[in-house]
Assembly symmetry: C2
Homo-oligomer: 225 residues x 2
Amino acid sequence: MDSSSRPRSTRDRPAKAPLSAEAIIDAALAILKSDGLDAVSMRRVAAALDTGAGSLYVYVTGREGLQEAMFDRIIATIELETPDPSRWRAQLHSLLGRLRDALVAHPGIAAATMVDPPRTEVVLGLLENLLGLLLASGLEPQRAAWAADILAAQVSYAAIEAELRRTDPTALAAQVTANFARLPADRFPLITAHAEQLVAGGVDERFRFAVDVVIDGVLATTSAR
Amino acid sequence: MDSSSRPRSTRDRPAKAPLSAEAIIDAALAILKSDGLDAVSMRRVAAALDTGAGSLYVYVTGREGLQEAMFDRIIATIELETPDPSRWRAQLHSLLGRLRDALVAHPGIAAATMVDPPRTEVVLGLLENLLGLLLASGLEPQRAAWAADILAAQVSYAAIEAELRRTDPTALAAQVTANFARLPADRFPLITAHAEQLVAGGVDERFRFAVDVVIDGVLATTSAR
DNA sequence: GTTTGTAACGAACACTGTTCGTAACATACA
DNA sequence: TGTATGTTACGAACAGTGTTCGTTACAAAC
């Protein structure tokens, strides 16, 4: 759809059409989902497309650019919410939950593209939606804007944390609990006493709690300071 | 101090003593502080110690183990607070602020060791202290335990965010603002309308706000659910 | 003085991202 | 039909990376 709509030159049509940015990102996402971000090397992506690594650089600026493009595609799949002042809190939970799930489904992408300021329209669309939900609560703009940032941190953190437990959800918790129990109680009285609470709850429950805490906190008047 | 106190064999003393885990971590931290985590390669660390990369593997399990050891040393420098129920909130801000500053001083370490569950006694000591401050507020143990996790996420996020602005604090903000202003107002009404609020505040101010939000939120009764 | 065990070296392996000179190819023009 | 053209893809090469391991050197113990 590019060659016909943009006739910048008389000889615009490519000779062959097996390679394209779309195809490269598709192949990269497939590897990402199955084997994680570390496995997404330029050579591996190229091999999946039956070509050499160097050929990718025509359509992708490099590994970093490819990662950003992958992140963009992942975010694009997330269904947004049309802010409703009567149920904005539930909508917030839904949206952030879907975001977290999408990140978990692509291991490593959360840690890699966590803090880059949003640039693409897709990511900005997500921010726009998040901001809309927060403002629907009646929050003042400044608090809503900062709350969006705080929630983004929680989503990323929860996603990375969930990735760790992806292989075996309970095994890690058991191991951590055992580690806590083994500690000398005289030097770590609180950790040993509350080991159960520290590892309590599943990923979902903890995430719900975190989002609620942030919402409740940002709704509360800034009392102590 | 190791060779004399632990005579596990009759021939215990090493032939030479230029290399040690301590020396390796020291050299790695120096590179980390000046050039960031990506620059901390096994070869570069070895070169700083006038040896080959392979020689490091006697004292360090590998790159990952070295990073953990570096993280441990960084955390070890953080001064803890003895919980005081009359000023726990200020103590919390102090402790988390120092933690964030220490992470920012070592670019990349926050993103790398963010979510690994705490294992070493040093890191657990920090958790113990954090838990102590939260419990000093009168929080029930379960909420305090989960709050510790939420705050850890905020610290890591703030540290990574601060690293980005390390080179030029205002340049990035200006660039992001310009990006927001350039957006089509019809599709991004909220972002364009509140672009100022989105980038408002320095790193410190935003961090203080985030910590206060979490504290206020976890103190609030779980109203809506 | 010889034996012994540990510590250090450094070459080698299998990778990584990236660059770039070269070759192929269907298209446009003569 | 033949030549020129500009895009496209290839694949070798470069400078790195983490890690392994056979070999060597050295100071202490017998």
